[in-house]
């Protein structure tokens, strides 16, 4: 399977689609960074308005940590969408170009072949998250420096610089599980529908519905606590003053379970279906 994974990575790195996707993600990051800077002051004014009556502020909150946090906060639609397109394309392009048939004529395991596609989707998603994290931090910290981070989650939570950095890094890692989940789902959807355009539409639909349902509280225990749509903003729990680690671990473990489940479904569909 190692050779299959290497082959998939090789193909991914040689396709223009990959670099278009990376460029799109970096451009979006740049736009978010610029808007974060201009909006940052306004946001801080609103958040700190009441405190301003009783306090002077020493130090600035409009710093690199805030910029990185705002980038982090706004990426959970655009980033999964682009990654879903790339991940679905790993399968649909081969199906359309019939290289899938050509591959299946070689003496390789069908199961290993499709699992290697899933693994490459996961690896690519992780690489993109790391790239995003490193680039946003490099640009933000070099332009805006560091300092305290303020986050509003019902209360104003202030974090000192070192702690803010740790939490942000953990948030990116935690959020990467969400991104990986969506990437895996898109591969499964691609295996199911096979057609490139339909796969993109269905993947986007899945993402939109997940984002909409995230904000809905039905008051039903299994939905509010265990359904996968509710697990996708677990990273935000890292910005409560006291981090509820057990809740975070539980949510992430559950999300990984859902990810594996979707992968399993995709593998089963692929194995049972005729290639052509």
């Amino acid at each position: 399977m190692k050779t299959l994974i290497q082959a998939e990575l090789y193909k991914l790195m040689h396709q223009r689609m990959t670099y278009f996707a990376l460029a799109a993600i970096l451009v979006i990051e740049g736009i978010v960074l610029v808007s974060a800077y201009f909006q940052g002051s306004a946001i801080l004014d609103i958040l700190l308005d009441n405190l301003r009556e009783s306090f002077y502020f020493q130090g600035t909150l409009l710093n690199g940590h805030l910029m990185v946090y705002l980038i982090l906060n706004s990426l959970w639609f655009h980033l999964p969408l682009i990654l879903m397109i790339v991940s679905a394309g790993l399968f649909t392009t081969e199906h359309k170009e019939r290289t899938l048939q050509m591959m299946m004529q070689q003496p390789i395991s069908k199961t290993h072949f499709i699992i290697s596609k899933y693994l490459v989707a996961v690896v690519f998603s992780l690489v993109v998250i790391v790239l995003l994290m490193v680039s946003s931090m490099m640009i933000s910290y070099s332009l805006f420096g560091t300092g305290d981070l303020v986050v509003y989650l019902g209360t104003l939570n202030f974090f000192q610089s070192a702690e803010a950095f740790e939490r942000i890094v953990l948030a990116y890692l935690c959020g990467s599980l969400t991104v990986i989940f969506f990437s895996v789902v898109s591969v499964t959807l691609a295996i199911w529908v096979r057609d490139t355009t339909i796969a993109w539409i269905v993947s986007a639909f899945f993402l939109i519905i997940s984002n909409l349902l995230l904000k809905v509280d039905l008051g039903i225990d299994w939905f509010d606590n265990y359904f996968f749509v509710k697990l996708n903003d677990t990273w935000q729990l890292l910005f409560n003053t006291e981090i509820d680690w057990s809740h975070i671990y539980f949510n992430n473990a559950l999300l990984v379970t859902y990810t594996v489940l979707f992968m399993f479904i995709g593998v089963m569909i692929f194995r049972r279906r005729d290639v052509a």
């Binding site: 009441n50 002077y56 130090g59």
Partner: protein, 208 residues
Amino acid sequence: MLPQWMCAQDIDPVLLQAKARLDSVQSFEAGLKLSVDISFVNMSPKQATMTYTKGEPTTFSSEDFVLIPKRGLDFSLSEIFEYPFMTVDRGYEVIFGRPCKLLNIIPLDKRADFSIATLGVDTVNYSVMKSEISTKKDGTYEVLLSYGQSNDIIPGRVEVSFEIERIRIPLQYMGKEIEVDKSAMKMEEVKRGRIILDIEPALVELVK
């Protein structure tokens, strides 16, 4: 030298002693540990440095982001003594184990920032232990002062309590969708907040 109007006024001598004592400090620099106690703010204690020079605004510096209270750090009582006032004896109270005389300060000049103030002054060491000042524009704030040694001029701990409005965010900014408890918000719209400053003075220079 006391201002002219003070000489002509009937100001409680305990207060005058306290003022003289405070005026003996020419300058000092102190390390501050600021701990904020406001229900909707979670901030770990911060370190800052405070520099006081008589007759000049007090300055603060810190590597972190810190909240410096606008009120309660007027160690020289300059705000109270800026305009003519009268004192009214309100009796005695024990504050932090020290016998204190309670005095109402009533400004006689409408230019004064405050409408009434209550001070608790230690009758042995002439230290201000407590003050409650009702400002005209910024509500009422209380300051509790405690001292390391009983004869210290600069307090070791200052607690400033004040009114603060509940934070209201009209849109979802920078965070998870929160459950908005509207009825609770209405009841708690104006809250009391507190900031505690632990002061470690150094480089104290007295007036020669």
